[in-house]
Structures are given as structure tokens and as C-alpha cells.
Point group: none
């Protein structure tokens, strides 16, 4: 019914335009403008309709209501994303880092090295923050009498001096391996702020030197 009246008005106006055909020269441009505006309007209305279809179904078909509820829904979704991301980070923080590689490495060769430091980046698709990265630092030390406490303390005190990394989680184990030589393994999950420079190899080498120095000192003491 409404469409009918609209089209009726349209034809009426067109008739009016044709009535003044002799005095109004820019009829074609005006007509083009008119239909262009009509096209714009219907496109905008279509966008309104599709947007309303995405909103929660109890929404009024009001244009203003569509806008305001879109705004509210958007902020709500943002809050949900933030909360979920935070909770996700909490969960990931206390998730034990994968320790399978250490076992394989220990079972295989490379045991001639008393200290091994590996640094692997954790790719997490849930929190793809571009300004920070997450690394897993694994330190394995085979020594006759280097207690895990000293090792962890040394590593942590070293980490405190590096200002753009922060500790997310830490996992340390010690176990006997073969005849009276125990193996200490520490896995640290680190969050690296990407703002400053970050030399991965240099950091790894520094950790290696710290641990090797600890092993030397301890062996000299005993």
C-alpha cells in the first residue's frame, strides 16, 4: 500500500517536471541527480536493513534504534573479546609448556654438553599481539652437584637485569640420570616487549654464559 502511494507520488512529480518542459533546461541533469539520490537512499536503507539483521533479534526497526543498539552491541562484543582474551591469557600462563623435546633430547645424544639452552618462540593464534612476543626458554644443566635452587636463582636474577622481558611462568624439575649425575631442567615462558631491540641469539648466549658460569663456580667450590 505504501509502495503504491510512493510510486504514485513519483509519477506525479515526474508529470510536474514534464509540465515545465519548455522553461527548465537542466531537466536531464536534475533527473539524473534525482535518480542518483534515490539510488543512494535505497542503498543506505539496504545497509540499514542488513545491519539490523545482524543485531540481536529483538531490535526495533527504527533507524535511530538500529544505530544505538549497534553501538551498544558493538561495545558489548568488545568487552566480551577483552574479557575472553584476558581469561585466555590467564589460562595460557598456567598451562605447562610442552616438555616433550627435553625428554627426547635427553634420551638421544647431545649429552656431552653439560649445559643446553634452547629458545623457541611460542606462536599463539589466540593472542596475536603485534607488540609483544612469547618465548619458551629451556635450560638443561647436567651437573654432579648443582642444586636447582641456585640455577633458578641465577637465571631469575639475570632476567631481572633484562628490562624488556617479563616472566610469565616457570617450571623447574630435577631428576637423577644414570650414576649419581642429576639433570636440572628449567623452562621459562617469557613475554618480550617488542618495542626495544631484541636480539634472540645474544639473549640465548647470555643465558648460556650465566648458567655455565654457575656450573663452573659450583664445581670449583666442591
Amino acid at each position: 500500500m505504501l509502495k503504491r502511494s510512493i510510486s504514485f507520488l513519483r509519477s506525479l512529480n515526474l508529470m510536474r517536471l514534464r509540465e515545465g518542459i519548455q522553461a527548465t533546461r537542466p531537466t536531464s541533469s536534475q533527473l539524473h541527480h534525482m535518480i542518483s539520490e534515490r539510488k543512494r537512499r535505497e542503498k543506505l536503507n539496504e545497509s540499514f536493513h542488513t545491519l539490523k539483521s545482524l543485531l540481536p533479534p529483538g531490535t526495533k526497526k527504527d533507524k535511530a534504534s538500529v544505530l544505538t543498539t549497534a553501538r551498544e552491541y558493538l561495545t558489548s562484543l568488545r568487552a566480551q573479546v577483552a574479557e575472553l582474551s584476558k581469561r585466555n591469557q590467564q589460562l595460557e600462563a598456567r598451562l605447562p609448556p610442552a616438555a616433550k623435546e627435553a625428554y627426547n633430547e635427553e634420551a638421544a645424544g647431545s649429552s656431552n654438553e653439560r649445559v643446553s639452552v634452547t629458545l623457541t618462540q611460542v606462536v599463539s593464534e589466540s593472542t596475536p599481539d603485534q607488540d609483544q612476543q612469547i618465548f619458551d626458554l629451556q635450560v638443561v644443566l647436567r651437573s654432579v652437584e648443582c642444586c636447582t635452587e641456585d640455577m633458578v636463582i641465577r637465571i631469575l636474577e639475570f632476567l631481572k637485569q633484562v628490562n624488556n622481558v617479563s616472566l610469565m611462568s616457570l617450571e623447574a624439575n630435577t631428576w637423577m640420570s644414570g650414576s649419581d649425575s642429576n639433570v636440572n631442567r628449567v623452562i621459562l615462558r617469557l613475554r618480550v616487549d617488542q618495542g626495544t631491540e631484541w636480539d634472540e641469539a645474544a639473549f640465548q648466549e647470555a643465558v648460556r654464559r650465566v648458567v655455565a658460569d654457575l656450573a663452573l663456580n659450583n664445581c670449583r667450590n666442591q
Copy 2:
């Protein structure tokens, strides 16, 4: 159909009237209509502006662009929520059962205490050694700025002074809780040689004092 003809006649009459006399009918009702429509328009534009302010900042100030980008952003946020929720569920499913209690405890009350120390004996039927016992020491510290590194270092240095306990494994996490107050949790598995005297409550109280002292010092420093 009848209505159509009626409206047609009416509009025709109105147009005739307007053509004839233009100054006699700008009555107050038309003026009210005008300013009301103006009010409506500016309110709608305001809604447009606020909605655009919530969109990603590279958005065109076009009305249609605002609508379409709002739609895209909304679907994107929805997808993010779905993916985060799925991942969250996966993470919660594979969460170790030991950490669930701490999670609930953190979510529930008992947050009035900034430091909590619990010591539980691990009964393991696989190694029923009678001359040594295994304990799990859990330390939770809620503080605005007590980094986990210091906490672990303090606990380990304290442990080094106790001569009849040795560290088996260590697990430390830190995560944000609420507004800018992070929670540090450290779980230590200790082997206690039963030969000498072993006062469980005293040990726990000593750990609590160490951690509380650390928190005090850190709060005083900052």
C-alpha cells in the same frame, strides 16, 4: 485503491493551494514539524558520529561506509568471540586438575588475604618411603607490583637455609586479576628427610613470613 484516489485528490488540492497563496500558511504547525524533523536529523547524525567513533579509526566518514564497516566489524568481533570461546574451552579442558582449585579460589572470595601459604603432603603409593616425605608447598601472593622473580628467589634462598628439605620440582605462574593487580602462584614439591625433626606448621609459618616480608619491602620501595 480508493485511498489512493483520495490522497491523489488531496495532494492535488494542496498543490493548487500552495501555488495560489504561499504566505498565508506557514502556520505554527508546519514550523513545529520543521524543527522536529531537524531535531530528529541531528540526533540521528549524532548517533552516526558516536558509532563511527567506535569503529576502527581508519574508517571513512561516509554514512554508508559507517554502516558497512560497522557490519563488517561486528561480524569480525563475533568471529573473534567464537574463536576465543572455543579456544578457551579447549584450554579449560586440558587444564591440570591441580590448578582448578586455585582458579576457583581466585574467582571466589579469600582474596582479602594478600598472601596464602598451603602445605599439603603428597601421598604416593608408588614410593612409600618411610624415611622421607613429599610435600607440595603452594604460595599465592596478590600484589600490585611484586614480580614473580623476586618471590621465587626469596623462597628458594629460604629453602637453601633449611637443610633437611630439597627441591624436587617448581612451578610458578603469574597472571592478571581484576584491575592491575596480578597474582603470583608458586608450587614447590619438596622432599623432606624425616631423620631430623620436622615441624610442619613452623615451616609453613616461616614461608609465610618470608613472603609477607618480601611483599612489605616491595610495597615500601614503590
